[in-house]
C-alpha cells in the first residue's frame, strides 16, 4: 500500500489565501458594509418622517421665516443625493450638526454623555460574565446526562424567569426597595461610586441568567461529544476533563451569544438610564425623540449602532483565536 495516496491535501500556502488574511478581509468588509447601512439608515430616518422635521421640532407656533432659515442652514432643500454627500462629508470630519433645541454642537453632547453610558455597559457586562461562567459551568457538570434532574429543573426555571423580566422593571423594583423603602443607595445620577451599584445590578442580572443558562446547555452538549469520550479514555482527572477539554469548547459556542449580550447591554442602557436619571446617551436619546431634536437622535443612533457592530467584530476575532475552525465556518 502506498502511503502517498493517504496524505491529506497539503495546506495551500498562497499568501493571499492564508486563512487569517481571508478571514480579516471578509470580516472587515462586513463591518464596513454594516456601518454604511447604519449611516445611510440614519440619514434616511429624517427623510422618512412624515411632514417637515424642522416644523415638527420648532413647533407649530414658530414663524415661517425661522423654519425656512433653519431648513436652509441644514440644506434640506438641496437634492437628496447632494444632502447625502454632505452628510457623509460632515460625518467624516466629525461634524454631527447642532441641536435644534439647545443649539449646542451634537458632537459635544455625544462626547460628554458617551463615557457614562459605556462605563455602565462595560461594568455590567463584566459582572454578568464573572457570575455566569462559573455558574453555568458548575451547573453543566452537575446536570450532565443522567444527573441532577431536580437541579436542572430548578436552575432552568429560575434563570428563565429572571432572564425574561425586563431590566427597567428590575430597576423600578430596585428603586423601590433600596431607594424608597430602605433608603440605602442613591437612585439617581452618577456622582458617587455607590450610585453605580443599582444600575449595574439592574443591567447585569437578566443577561447573567441567560448567559449562564446557555453555558450550562453548551456544557452538557459538549460533555456528550465524541471527543470527551476520547478524553475519558485517556483516564485524565476530572478537573482536566471539565476545565481542559469541555470548558473551552463550551465557551466558544457561548461566545457568540456573549457578544450579542454585550451589544444589547449597550442598548439596554436606554431604559435603565431613564429610571436612574443617569446622565448618559440613553436618557438623551429619549428626550431628543420626544423633543423631535432629530440631529441628536441621528448621531446617537449611529454611535449606538457602531458600538454594537464593533463589539460583534471583536467577538468574531476572539472566536477565531479560540477555535480556528470558526474562520472557515464564517462563509
Amino acid at each position: 500500500m502506498s502511503l502517498a495516496s493517504s496524505v491529506a491535501p497539503a495546506p495551500r500556502v498562497r499568501v493571499t489565501s492564508h486563512p487569517w488574511v481571508r478571514f480579516g478581509v471578509r470580516r472587515l468588509g462586513r463591518l464596513l458594509v454594516s456601518l454604511w447601512v447604519l449611516i445611510t439608515a440614519s440619514f434616511l430616518m429624517i427623510h422618512l418622517i412624515p411632514g417637515d422635521p424642522v416644523r415638527a421640532a420648532l413647533g407649530p407656533t414658530a414663524p415661517a421665516t425661522l423654519v425656512a432659515a433653519k431648513r436652509e442652514e441644514m440644506g434640506l432643500d438641496d437634492p437628496i443625493l447632494v444632502q447625502y454627500w454632505h452628510y457623509l462629508q460632515n460625518l467624516f470630519t466629525g461634524d454631527l450638526g447642532t441641536s435644534m433645541i439647545s443649539q449646542l454642537p451634537v458632537s459635544d453632547i455625544v462626547a460628554q454623555r458617551l463615557p457614562a453610558t459605556l462605563s455602565l455597559a462595560l461594568l455590567a457586562f463584566i459582572c454578568a460574565v464573572v457570575v455566569a461562567v462559573p455558574l453555568g459551568v458548575t451547573m453543566g457538570v452537575l446536570t450532565r446526562r443522567g444527573h441532577g434532574r431536580r437541579t436542572e429543573l430548578g436552575f432552568t426555571t429560575t434563570s428563565v424567569i429572571i432572564g425574561i423580566i425586563p431590566d427597567f422593571l428590575i430597576a423600578v423594583g430596585l428603586v423601590y426597595v433600596f431607594g424608597v423603602s430602605l433608603g440605602w443607595l442613591p437612585v439617581a445620577g452618577n456622582d458617587t461610586p455607590s450610585s453605580y451599584i443599582l444600575p449595574v445590578f439592574a443591567l447585569m442580572i437578566g443577561p447573567a441568567a441567560i448567559l449562564s443558562r446557555i453555558i450550562r446547555v453548551e456544557m452538557v452538549a459538549v460533555l456528550e461529544a465524541d471527543f470527551i469520550r476520547t478524553a475519558r479514555a485517556k483516564r485524565i482527572p476530572a478537573r482536566s476533563l471539565y476545565l481542559g477539554h469541555a470548558l473551552p469548547n463550551a465557551l466558544t459556542a457561548s461566545l457568540t451569544l456573549g457578544g450579542l449580550i454585550l451589544g444589547s447591554m449597550v442598548a439596554a442602557t436606554v431604559l435603565v438610564e431613564n429610571v436612574f436619571a443617569w446622565p448618559g446617551l440613553g436618557s438623551t436619546i429619549v428626550s431628543s425623540i420626544l423633543n423631535k431634536d432629530y440631529q441628536v437622535v441621528q448621531a446617537i443612533v449611529i454611535v449606538y449602532g457602531a458600538t454594537v457592530l464593533i463589539v460583534n467584530t471583536l467577538v468574531d476575532v476572539a472566536l477565531a483565536l479560540l477555535d480556528p475552525r470558526s474562520m472557515i465556518r464564517e462563509d
Binding site: 493517504s6 454594516s34 425574561i164 465524541d226 485517556k234 483516564r235
Partner: protein
C-alpha cells in the same frame, strides 16, 4: 396533541398554560366589567395609598390603580399581538425569500437580515419609533418591524435546514415547483418551531411595549396600557409606590406567561418529558440464568481480558433497557477478536463496558471483568486509572468528531503521558511526535502542531491509534474504526493495526458490522444478536458457521465471489428492541428454523470440543431453500 398533554404534566408547563389562559380571558372580560370603575375620578382621594376601597391606591386624578391595571390588559395584549403579527409576517417573507428567489437574490436578502439582526431590538424599535412617530400605532409598527429581522433569521435557518434534506431534492427532481415545495414540504415541517417562537415573541413584544410606553414613546393619554400606567406611576413612586408596582407586576406576569408557555411547548416538542424516567430497581432483574459457561480454555495466564456474564442496563421510561444481556469471552495476548452484528446488537456498549466508559446513567455488572488480572469492577482509583490509561487503547468510529477541535494534535496525544507517565511537557510532546511517526504520519513534527481539522479522516484514525500507543497497551479496542473511511484508506488502517499487533503482541478487539472485514483481520469472531453472543468461532470457520443468524449475515452481503444468478439472502423483520426482549430465542421471529421450543426456551451458548460456541437449538441444520420474497415482506410487516 400528545406533546401538549405532556406540557400540562410538568408543574411549570401547567402554571404557564393556566396563566396564559388567564391573561387572555382577562383581556376579553376586564374592559367589559370594570371600565367604569377604572375611569371614575375621585378628586378627594388623589394619590392615596392602598386601602380596602382602592386595593392599590389611586393615581393623580383619584382613579383606582387596580381596576385600571385590569382594564389595561386588553390594550396591552392587543398591541403585543399586533406587533407580533407584523414581526411574524415580515419575518416569514424575509426568511422564505432566499428559498424562492434562488441563489443570487437569496444571498442579498440573507445579507440584509444578517446586518439587521446585529442591532439590538431596542435600538431598532427606537429607530422605527422616530419614523412612525410617538404613539400607539407608531409603537406597534416599531416593535413589529424591530422583531422582524430576528424572526426572519429564524425562519431562514429553519428553511435552510429543511431545504437541505433529500425529500426536498426528491420533490424537485419529480418536477414540483418552488412555491409548492415551500407550502407542502417546508412550511409544514417548520410550523411547530415557528409557532412556539411566535408565542415567545408575543411575550417579548408585551415587555417591549411596556418599555416604549414607559419611555413615553408608546401609548399616550387618555388611553393607557400597562407601560403607560407604569410611566405615570413612577413619577409618584415616593407617594404611592403601588401605582408603579402593580402595573409592573401585571407586565411581568403576562410576559412570563407567554414566554414560559412557549418554552414549555418547545421543550415538550423537542426534548421530551422532564423528569419522567424512573430510577432503576436496586437489584438487577433475574439475569443470572444466563450462560453458565465453564471454560477451561481461558484459565491460562496469557489472558489479557476476561469477561464473564457482562450485563449493561439503562433506566427506561417503560422499564429497564438491557442492551447487553450476559456476555462471556476472553482475549489472549496477541489475539485478534472480531465482534459482528446488526446495528443495536450491543457491540459498542460491550466495548464501552469493558473499558469502563459507559455513562453514569447505565449500570454495568459482571461475574468477572478483569484486564491483566485487575478487577475492573472495583471502584475508580488512581492506580486503576493509570493501569487503564497505559495498557488499554481505544479507537472510535468517527475520526471527525473524536478529537478536541480546539487543541493541537500533539497536545492531545501528549496528555495521557503527562498524567500517567509523569513526563514533562516537552518529553511528552516528543513522545507524541515519535508515536505519530510510528503510525506512519509524514512530517510528524509539523503535524503535531496542527489542529484536528487539518488532518484527513484516515490520518486522524491513525493518530487515534498513535494516541493509544503513548502507553504500552496490551489491548486495543477498536469500535468500527474504518466504517467512516474509504476502502483504500480502510485497508491502510487495518494494515496498521495488524502490524502493531504483530510487533508488540498486542491483543485486538475489532468491532464491525462487516463480516468480511472481520474475517480478514481476526483470529476469532464473536457474533452478537440482541445483546448476546450467539456464536463464537474461528474466523477460518466462518464458511462453516452453525448459527442461522451468522449464516444469513454471511449470505446477505455480496462479495467478489457471489453468484450473480442467485438473489441475495434476506433477513426478514427487524432487530430486537432492547427494552422489549422476547422470551425464548431472541432470533426466533426472524429465523427460518424456529420451532416451538425456540419460542419458549432460550438456548445457551455451548462449546464443542474444538471450542466453537453456538447458542441455537438447531445449530447447523440445513436451511429451507428459496423463501419467496413476498412472504418475507409479510414477515417484515408483522
Amino acid at each position: 396533541m400528545r406533546q401538549l398533554k405532556s406540557v400540562l404534566r410538568t408543574p411549570l408547563g401547567l402554571t404557564a398554560t393556566l396563566l396564559t389562559i388567564g391573561v387572555l380571558v382577562l383581556a376579553v372580560i376586564a374592559p367589559i366589567l370594570w371600565t367604569d370603575d377604572a375611569d371614575a375620578i375621585d378628586t378627594s382621594n388623589i394619590l392615596a395609598p392602598p386601602s380596602a376601597e382602592h386595593w392599590a391606591g389611586t393615581d393623580n386624578l383619584g382613579r383606582d390603580i387596580f381596576y385600571r391595571t385590569l382594564v389595561a390588559t386588553r390594550l396591552s395584549v392587543e398591541l403585543a399581538l399586533a406587533a407580533t403579527a407584523i414581526a411574524v409576517v415580515v419575518g416569514l417573507l424575509l426568511g422564505t425569500a432566499a428559498f424562492l428567489l434562488g441563489r443570487r437574490g437569496g444571498r442579498l436578502v440573507n445579507a440584509g437580515i444578517n446586518i439587521a439582526v446585529a442591532f439590538p431590538g431596542i435600538l431598532l424599535a427606537l429607530f422605527f419609533a422616530v419614523i412612525f412617530g410617538v404613539g400607539a400605532t407608531g409603537a406597534v409598527l416599531a416593535i413589529g418591524m424591530a422583531g422582524a429581522p430576528a424572526f426572519g433569521r429564524l425562519t431562514q435557518t429553519l428553511v435552510a435546514g429543511i431545504a437541505a434534506r433529500d425529500f426536498v431534492a426528491a420533490a424537485q427532481v419529480a418536477g414540483v415547483g418552488r412555491l409548492r415545495i415551500l407550502l407542502r414540504h417546508v412550511l409544514p415541517n417548520i410550523g411547530e418551531p415557528l409557532a412556539v417562537n411566535a408565542t415567545i415573541s408575543a411575550g417579548g413584544a408585551l415587555l417591549a411595549f411596556a418599555g416604549l410606553s414607559f419611555l413615553g414613546l408608546g401609548v399616550q393619554q387618555p388611553t393607557y396600557d400597562w407601560g403607560r400606567l407604569l410611566f405615570d406611576g413612577i413619577s409618584s413612586i415616593y407617594v404611592n409606590p403601588w401605582a408603579a408596582l402593580v402595573p409592573g407586576f401585571a407586565v411581568i406576569i403576562a410576559g412570563l406567561a407567554f414566554n414560559l408557555f412557549g418554552e414549555s411547548v418547545a421543550k415538550a416538542l423537542g426534548v421530551g418529558v422532564v423528569g419522567g424516567i424512573p430510577k432503576l430497581p436496586s437489584v438487577a432483574a433475574h439475569l443470572d440464568d444466563v450462560e453458565p459457561v465453564e471454560d477451561t480454555r481461558h484459565s491460562t495466564d496469557d489472558v489479557v481480558l476476561d469477561v464473564r456474564n457482562l450485563r449493561v442496563t439503562f433506566p427506561g421510561v417503560r422499564g429497564p433497557i438491557r442492551p447487553v444481556r450476559g456476555i462471556s469471552f476472553a482475549v489472549r495476548r496477541g489475539e485478534a477478536i472480531g465482534v459482528v452484528g446488526e446495528s443495536g446488537s450491543g457491540k459498542s456498549l460491550t466495548a464501552l463496558a469493558i473499558s469502563r466508559l459507559v455513562d453514569d446513567s447505565g449500570r454495568v455488572e459482571a461475574d468477572r471483568l478483569e484486564l491483566l488480572g485487575d478487577d475492573l469492577r472495583a471502584a475508580d482509583s488512581k492506580a486503576q486509572r493509570q493501569m487503564l490509561g497505559t495498557s488499554l487503547a481505544m479507537v472510535f468510529q468517527d475520526p471527525m468528531t473524536s478529537f478536541n477541535p480546539t487543541q493541537r494534535m500533539g497536545r492531545q496525544l501528549a496528555e495521557s503521558s503527562r498524567h500517567h507517565q509523569g513526563l514533562s511537557k516537552k518529553d511528552a510532546l516528543e513522545r507524541a511526535v515519535d508515536r505519530l511517526r510510528s503510525v506512519r504520519i509524514t512530517e510528524p513534527e509539523k503535524r503535531a502542531h496542527q489542529y484536528p481539522h487539518e488532518f484527513s479522516g484516515g490520518m486522524r484514525q491513525r493518530a487515534m491509534i498513535g494516541m493509544g500507543l503513548m502507553g504500552t497497551p496490551a489491548l486495543i479496542v477498536a469500535d468500527e474504526p474504518t466504517t467512516a473511511l474509504d476502502v483504500t484508506v480502510q485497508q491502510q488502517v487495518l494494515d496498521l493495526l495488524a502490524s502493531i499487533r504483530e510487533a508488540d503482541d498486542v491483543a485486538l478487539i475489532l468491532i464491525s458490522h462487516d463480516v468480511t472485514v472481520v474475517g480478514e483481520v481476526c483470529d476469532r469472531v464473536l457474533v452478537m444478536y440482541a445483546g448476546r453472543i450467539v456464536e463464537d468461532l474461528r474466523a477460518a470457520d466462518l464458511a462453516a458457521a452453525q448459527h442461522p443468524y451468522t449464516r444469513a449475515l454471511m449470505a446477505a452481503v455480496p462479495d467478489m465471489h457471489t453468484d450473480l444468478d442467485q438473489p441475495l439472502a434476506v433477513i426478514p423483520g427487524r432487530p430486537v428492541d432492547p427494552s422489549d426482549v422476547p422470551e425464548g430465542c431472541a432470533y426466533a421471529a426472524r429465523c427460518p428454523l424456529a420451532s416451538a421450543r425456540c419460542r419458549t426456551e432460550d438456548p445457551a451458548l455451548v462449546a464443542d470440543a474444538a471450542g466453537h460456541r453456538v447458542a441455537c437449538w438447531h445449530a447447523g441444520e440445513p436451511l429451507p431453500l428459496e423463501i419467496e420474497d413476498r412472504e418475507l415482506e409479510e414477515a417484515e410487516a408483522s
